[in-house]
Every structure is written in C-alpha cells, then in structure tokens.
Symmetry: C2
Subunit: 107 residues, 2 copies
C-alpha cells in the first residue's frame, strides 16, 4: 500500500519540538521524526531493534558509548536494549527510523 503523508500517519509529540509520525506493517514500523532546533530526544532504550537515516538537517546522536554528528544520508543501527538519544543545535532534523518489531509504545 502507498501512504499519504501526513494523514495516514499516527502522530505523537513525546516532548515539545519532537514530532513523531508512524505507520506499521506486521513486522515493521516506519517512524518519521521532525526535531526543531535546540530540541532533544532524551537517552532511552527499548527492546525493538531500530535502524534509521537522516533525511535532512543535523543531529548529534549517541548510540551506546559513541556520539556522532549526523547529516543528510547518514545511517545507523540501534541494537535492541541499547541506550540512544540525541540533540539538535541551530538546525532542525528530519529522520526516518525503522523498528522491528513495531514499537509497542507507538502503536
């Protein structure tokens, strides 16, 4: 199926400046994330595996004990139960994450 954005997506704003829009299949969830400048996804972990790509902007991301400054096209893997999070500085960030299984707290 093809999705119409954003109307087919379920939207959340877990913290101000951090907007998440998700769609799910049986095994996969896509999460379209918009982060305003000077906002944060606090360090957290979950049992679902996560892989993602920077669609636009800039994001200083930490996975486990490694931190990198990400730009458009950069990709990463967050293994299950691994601490991760990040912050934006003067730029916004647009990120696409895939989760498997679909993230329970977002369904």
């Amino acid at each position: 199926m093809f999705y119409d954005f954003p109307q087919d997506f379920k939207a959340f704003e877990p913290v101000p400046g951090f907007l998440v829009r998700v769609v799910s299949g049986e095994r996969l969830m896509l999460s379209h994330v918009t982060l305003a400048p000077h906002s944060e996804t606090p360090l957290h972990r979950h049992s679902e595996e996560q892989m993602g790509i920077m669609l636009d902007g800039e994001f200083e991301m930490t996975i486990g004990d490694e931190t990198r400054f990400l730009k458009k096209g950069d990709m990463y893997l967050v293994p299950a139960n691994t601490m991760h999070g990040g912050i934006t500085h003067n730029e916004h960030a647009l990120i696409l994450d895939a989760f498997s299984p679909p993230r329970e707290t977002y369904r």
Copy 2:
C-alpha cells in the same frame, strides 16, 4: 553503530542501472537503492516484509494491483509475498527500503 557510506555496505547490481547497498541488524535490513533513468526493478515478491521511502527522484511503483508515481518523501508498505516492482523514466530514483527479517538473498 554508525555506518560509513558506502564502504560499510554490501553492494549488488541485480540488473544494469539498479544498484543496491545493504546493511543488516538482527531483525532489520536497510537497502539503499539507486536507479538510473530508464531502468527497472522487475516485478517480484519475497517472504520478507518491506517498507520504504523515496529519498530523491521519481519512481513509478506497483504494489499488488496499485500503481503510483512516487516523489521525494513518499512512503509505502509491501506486505510479505506481495508482487511489486517499478520503473524510472527521465529521472533517477533514490530509495531507502527496510526489510524484516533481513532479506535472505541480499545477505
């Protein structure tokens, strides 16, 4: 972990003009696809579920009995064992696909 592109990716060219670069976790695989203008991903199906996003360019994609002309930011779901494929016209296409489980034939 953070990936360096393209050196951390396993590359394939299933048909000329159709370049695939993949990385995998335990449950997820990301597939970074570059299609030259006037090229094709022939209709096919597989047991892995697939979700994707258009990163750039244009792609005329068929999933089951539905065909759409996709542009940057468009997203879709290919349920397990569903026929799908597509073509480019005058533009190239850059696509990011997620598979779960990781696609056996790409590992």
